[in-house]
């Protein structure tokens, strides 16, 4: 067992526990975006920073990756931590203003202004989808490409991956980008996961009137589109559009 001090509270935890796990266990909330139980820690979103050490050696570390150490002093919401979190959330909000998850976090952290130029990206590169695909679905269908501002997530060469099973896990875990599924454009499909999620709208009659849990509902759109005559896609073999018809 390791004894450490968290926000003044002396606690004991097992070796190998991360600071995030300790904090949450003892009821100190830490916001996260790229962390998920069952997936390996990644440390990309930097929201979970906490302050460790003292005096001039004090520093911020990501609690999702930092292992508990004997005698460590952790502060989960010091002024330095809060300032950093607020700026990070402001940056996130400026890039992905439409994400409900980010909006809620920003609101909870009392962010009332947005000083950066507004962008409309739909990805924060948290890597949850990539890890989900690799670690839980054992598919490795998607991955990162490019560097810095040109970094994107997708399949190799942007063609439909043969190892993708359309499980939808990637979309399920995404905190920012409910709209990323490009199911309607099967040539660029990442996963087409919605087809496997059995959206409730499809089970009810008449489903057109239902509020879809995805807005806009990808599945419904597909159904509507599939009613249209084929538009020369048949040459490219069986796309994901056909797959959904098979399922239905």
């Amino acid at each position: 067992m390791i004894t450490l001090n968290i926000n003044g509270l002396s606690v004991s935890v097992e070796k190998g526990t991360t600071l995030l796990e300790v904090s949450r266990f003892y009821g100190f909330p830490i916001p996260t975006l790229c962390h998920m139980e069952g997936l390996s820690p990644y440390g990309a979103c930097r929201l979970c920073v906490v302050e460790i050490g003292e005096g001039p050696r004090a520093k911020l570390v990501t609690s999702c990756t930092y292992p508990a150490e004997e005698g460590l002093k952790v502060r989960t919401s010091s002024a330095r931590v809060v300032r950093a979190r607020k700026v990070i959330l402001e940056l996130l909000l400026a890039s992905c203003p439409q994400s409900k998850v980010i909006q809620d976090l920003a609101s909870a952290h009392n962010i009332r202004r947005q000083r950066f130029r507004q962008e409309h990206e739909d990805c924060i590169m948290c890597g949850l989808c990539v890890r989900m695909c690799e670690e839980q679905m054992m598919a490795k269908a998607i991955g990162f490409r490019g560097r810095g501002e040109t970094r994107t997530i997708g399949t190799p060469f942007d063609i439909r991956s043969e190892v993708c099973r359309l499980c939808g896990g990637c979309i399920y875990v995404c905190p920012a980008c409910q709209l990323r599924c490009t199911y309607t454009d099967p040539d660029k499909a990442i996963c087409g996961g919605c087809a496997n999620l059995s959206p409730p709208c499809l089970e009810k009659e008449p489903f057109e009137d239902m509020m879809c849990y995805m807005e806009p509902c990808v599945a419904c759109e597909i159904t509507a589109a599939s009613k249209k005559p084929e538009t020369g896609r048949e040459k490219e073999g069986k796309g994901a559009g056909d797959a959904i018809e098979d399922i239905l």
């Binding site: 930097r46 330095r80 700026v87 990070i88 996130l92 130029r117 810095g148 501002e149």
Partner: protein
């Protein structure tokens, strides 16, 4: 090659190889590093070889081809003859046989020996050259001695002797202890103690293997010390790694080198093969039980792969992205195995430490920062190249002694260390010793050792923007704050640089930079804000200039500068516009363009110090600046001023307000003119008997004819202006009195009319004149105060004016200017100094007067001492230091003291002190933006505020004062938000002249012949002819078009460019 089976075998081999060197055999060293190869060293090598073969002197002379860069790349190729040490630079093919022949008989070829490009001094030995003299080249020296592709060569130079010693010790712990004791810290920039890292690695379990990595992913722009070591002395890295493996128990070594270094990779592959063949690598090294081998991994060139965790992933074949530490590589590295990563330079230091002993090594440098460090010194500096100095050397020494000071005229402003994610250190902090800790304290990093010297033509906002652009591209993008943070910082910097910045931008930038530094994953992100934070820390003023005043003083940020000629002019004169009109032959329009901003066109056409020409893009990009002042003269000589004569407005709102202006120099008259046009009733008080101020008093008629001044001032007067001559502040009027008399505002513009005295013994004797008194005596009263041998002390414009005036007086035999620094540092305009010399005025530099000698109350001479240039002072100039024993007497009949002027405000202070604050320098303190003194309603402008300054600055101040007084009297807010001044009027480019007519450079302003002009006071400079003017005007590059060209035209131009491309 036979495999060396034991340590003794290696010793024996070295003994045989040493024979050649010990015999003091003649050796010609040829450099074939990347830079030298580019300069043609391969040809030199071929010629040298052929010459030695054909003469059959192979056994008399040895040829060593090295791979390490020696000096400034542009000075290559180099040839070094040893043991004499004769050093030749920029060697041509035909010189090689001569050098070799001379070396054979123990001589050198005098005219080919390295010559310092600036001083012209010749240096016969490499060690005497200032660039080398102040260095301690323990690593680079080997690169100069050793042929990188011949292992025998390395062994003969004590190579692998350290390995021998380590293996012979039989104790890995001893090796680690030795490295610890040496105090060596990681040369990759982090500065982690190498011995400590090794100790940690040695403590890790062995099963499954341990790795040692040499990090040769040198990605900093402009840094190439690692490349130089790898190319020049790859065996030192290999030896270092073998020793490291022995000490830590590592089983596998990897050199991670960027693929952009083909020569380094080639030399390394050859070296590894040779080491294996000798049994220095592989199984059972030198007959011991210790085994170790090294592989090469080539990096694909991502900057971030220099970061250790990213480097590990890259070696593993994954995307080169860092991962969060802990665990540290020394716990879990390549494939999960313990790994120690050290920089090339760190590895190269290991053999030195083991061979010479840790204590010897620790003696170099300072406590906690031992050894030497290589820097790549580049930028606006005379000598560039790789520099190796002991840790703790001051920046000043590197920049001024080794680097030789600024390459151009501009002063050095800052130095940027540590590559793109390093920070800038300003020139006033150059006494900082270079070591890990003091650099970190100063807000920058050691990094891998890049050093970029920047002068005043560098904009610090632009520097931060440049590096942020690099970093945002090179950020791997894994962690959010680095990816978005660098992007956003760049975005904000771009806004500031393009004039869209606000004060909130600066706060946000600073806040963001701190958060990015605090929260990113790896070293790249944590140091990425350094360019921003360090420039904000030391150069916040520059940011504020961009944001508040919308000015870029370095003339770099185009959206703020517009046309540089216009931006450089204190008046904002659209120089491009009248030059364009002259090219089109539209002389009247040209005159209007000048007159709109400048009430004194004819005066400025003669005496302006033309800052527009200094900033002209045609000149700044390597050619000659357009002769803008000569073109102005051409127009003002040919145009009748009456075509542009603004009429004064009538004050509509009751009785016009009255304004008092004290002083009728360019500042006073300009202010009076502009106020009168707005309807004010202005009274100008002048102490002398006619208006004009310094134009009359100080500027001699051969530069500015009296009738030009009179005409110009006369044209500016109207019924709203009344001039009262012979009324002096303090004697006849004072500030309180003027306000009591009902003047709504008072402008003080009395200039700087008092010469600063020498403060030497015996100064107050007949024959010694303060310069302004001297010039006034002649210019105003027509007396001739000089005779016989005349000496002028000082190097400014009033010194040159006094000297040239004296020369033209009857009864003067000779004129000598005495200045304490060198010609280059004289503050007078270069063209004036040149004209003075043409007229036969002697200029003695590096002399300081000590005593004024007199007989019977009359000057007979001055006693002077010679100076030499000493240390560089805070202004970036070398301080003159008197040389004892060089005192000498100069016999003189007249001495003019021109070492500076001030306003003399202290002597009239009872008058000024009606509450007006005066500084120690005897100037009036004003708010620089409003020109308002501490007393409400009292403004000050011109030399009284700035100290002695130029005419055009005074005019600009007068104009500004008029605007401020107008706002003050109307009760408006004095300060309005600044806007960048950009060209607005489109003037279609003139038809080109016939082919070739624009070539041939700048048209020099014609001057009257020196022999004739020095006998009289007629004007020296002559106007251009219409053909010359047209040709000169056509040379203008029309920087304004970027801002003024109509849209359609812009499209057709870019279309044409596309087609051309």
């Amino acid at each position: 090659m036979p495999r060396l089976a034991s340590i003794d075998d290696l010793k024996r081999l070295r003994g045989i190889l040493r024979y050649d060197v010990d015999a003091g055999r003649l050796r010609v060293v040829l450099c074939a590093g990347t830079a030298c190869q580019a300069c043609g060293s391969n040809g030199i090598i071929r010629v040298a070889k052929r010459h030695i073969m054909t003469r059959g002197i192979q056994d008399k002379i040895a040829l060593t081809i090295t791979g390490g860069d020696i000096l400034d790349c542009e000075m290559g190729p180099f040839v070094l003859v040893e043991p004499a040490g004769a050093f030749y630079a920029q060697v041509r093919l035909e010189d090689v046989p001569r050098i070799i022949d001379a070396a054979l008989v123990g001589e050198h070829v005098d005219e080919l020996v390295y010559q310092d490009p600036q001083s012209g001094r010749k240096y016969y030995r490499q060690d005497d050259i200032p660039f080398f003299k102040y260095q301690k080249r323990s690593l680079l020296e080997m690169g100069q001695k050793v042929d990188p592709i011949r292992i025998n060569n390395y062994i003969s130079e004590e190579g692998y002797a350290a390995l021998e010693k380590a293996l012979a010790s039989g104790s890995p712990q001893w090796v680690v202890e030795e490295v610890k004791k040496s105090g060596l810290r990681g040369r990759g920039g982090g500065g982690f103690p190498t011995g400590r890292k090794w100790e940690l690695l040695a403590a890790q379990p062995v099963d499954g293997g341990k790795y040692l990595v040499c990090n040769a992913d040198e990605g900093d722009p402009g840094a190439y010390m690692d490349r130089s070591i790898l190319e020049g002395n790859p065996h030192s890295i290999i030896e270092g790694m073998i020793i490291g493996a022995y000490g830590t128990g590592a089983t596998k070594g990897i050199v991670y080198v960027r693929n952009e270094y083909p020569l380094a990779i080639k030399h390394l592959i050859i070296a590894l093969r040779q080491a294996r063949e000798y049994g220095l690598l592989g199984r059972e090294i030198l007959g011991t039980t210790f085994s170790f081998d090294i592989d090469i991994v080539k990096g694909a060139g991502a900057f971030v792969c220099g970061e250790e965790t990213a480097l590990i992933r890259s070696i593993e074949g994954k995307i080169g992205e860092p991962r969060q530490r802990p665990p540290f590589p020394v716990q879990r590295g390549i494939g999960g195995r313990p790994t120690a990563i050290n920089n090339v330079e760190t590895w190269a230091n290991i053999p030195l430490i083991i061979r010479r002993g840790a204590d010897e090594f620790a003696k170099i440098g300072t406590k906690g920062n031992s050894g030497t460090k290589i820097f790549s010194l580049v930028g606006k500096i005379k000598n560039t190249g790789l520099v190796e100095v002991p840790m703790g050397t001051t920046i000043r020494k590197i920049v001024y002694e080794i680097g030789g000071g600024p390459s151009g005229k501009a002063r050095i402003k800052a130095i940027q260390t540590g590559g793109p994610s390093g920070g800038c250190i300003p020139a006033d902090k150059f006494d900082l010793p270079i070591d890990y800790d003091s650099l970190a304290e100063a807000g920058t990093i050691m990094g891998s050792g890049g050093m970029i010297v920047m002068d005043e033509n560098t904009c610090m906002v632009d520097v931060a923007k440049y590096f942020m652009n690099f970093l945002k591209d090179e950020s791997c993008g894994k962690c959010f704050t680095c990816r978005k943070g660098t992007q956003r910082m760049y975005e904000i910097l771009e806004d500031i640089a393009s004039g869209k910045g606000t004060l909130e931008h600066i706060d946000l930038l600073e806040e963001l930079a701190h958060v990015v530094k605090d929260t990113t994953m790896c070293g790249l992100g944590q140091t990425a804000p350094n360019p921003v934070l360090s420039t904000l820390r030391y150069f916040r003023e520059e940011y504020l200039r961009h944001v508040v005043d919308k000015k870029c003083d370095a003339f770099v940020c185009r959206p703020l500068v517009g046309a540089p000629c216009q931006a450089a002019c204190p008046l904002g004169t659209e120089a491009w516009r009248y030059v364009a009109h002259i090219a089109r032959g539209e002389y009247e329009e040209a005159y209007r363009a000048i007159r709109e901003t400048n009430p004194f066109p004819s005066v400025c056409a003669r005496v302006c110090h033309h800052p527009c020409e200094e900033r002209c893009v045609a000149g700044a990009t390597g050619g000659d600046a357009v002769a803008i002042r000569a073109l102005k003269r051409f127009i003002t000589d040919r145009t009748d001023p009456s075509i542009c004569r603004p009429t004064p407005a009538v004050w509509e709102d009751g009785e016009p307000p009255r304004v008092a202006i004290v002083g009728s120099g360019p500042a006073g008259i300009t202010a009076a003119h502009h106020l009168s046009l707005k309807g004010y009733k202005v009274t100008v008080f002048e102490a002398e008997d006619r208006p004009g101020g310094m134009l009359y008093c100080a500027i001699p008629p051969y530069r500015l004819p009296r009738e030009v001044i009179e005409k110009e001032i006369h044209a500016l007067l109207n019924e709203n202006i009344r001039i009262e001559c012979g009324v002096a502040l303090g004697r006849d009027i004072d500030v309180d009195g003027l306000i009591k008399d009902g003047y709504g505002a008072v402008l003080l513009a009395i200039g700087a009319h008092r010469s600063v005295p020498l403060r030497l013994e015996g100064e107050n004797v007949a024959g010694v004149h303060p310069s302004i008194e001297f010039l006034k005596a002649f210019n105003l009263r027509g007396t001739k105060p000089a005779k016989g041998r005349v000496g002028v002390i000082g190097g400014g414009n009033s010194a040159v004016d006094a000297a040239r005036t004296a020369l033209r007086l009857d009864g003067v035999e000779s004129v000598t200017i005495l200045y304490r620094r060198t010609r280059d540092e004289m503050p007078a305009f270069a063209e004036e100094v040149e004209a003075a010399e043409q007229e036969g005025i002697a200029i003695q530099t590096l002399v300081t007067p000590l005593r004024v000698l007199s007989e019977g109350g009359r000057l007979v001479g001055v006693e002077c001492v010679r100076n030499e240039l000493g240390e560089v002072d805070s202004s970036g100039r070398r301080r003159p230091v008197p040389l004892p024993g060089t005192e000498h007497t100069i016999a003189l009949d007249t001495l003019v003291v021109a070492i500076g002027e001030d306003s003399g405000a202290d002597t009239i202070s009872p008058a000024l002190s009606s509450g007006v604050e005066i500084t120690k320098k005897n100037t009036v303190r004003v708010d620089p933006k409003t020109l308002l003194t501490n007393r409400s309603g009292v403004f000050a402008a011109g030399d009284l505020v700035t100290g002695p300054n130029t005419v055009v600055e005074a005019i600009a101040a007068g104009k500004k004062a008029a605007i401020m007084i107008d706002r003050y009297v109307r009760g408006a807010i004095l300060l309005e938000p600044a806007q960048p001044v950009l060209p607005r009027i489109y003037i279609e480019p003139a038809a080109p002249l016939e082919e070739g007519a624009e070539e041939g450079g700048r048209t020099e302003t014609p001057r009257a012949a020196a022999a004739w002009r020095k006998r009289n006071f007629a004007e020296v400079e002559v106007s251009l002819s219409p053909e010359e003017a047209s040709r000169e005007a056509h040379r203008c590059l029309r920087c304004d078009l970027e801002f003024t060209r109509p849209k359609e035209e812009e499209e057709s131009v870019s279309e044409a460019r596309r087609q051309y491309a």
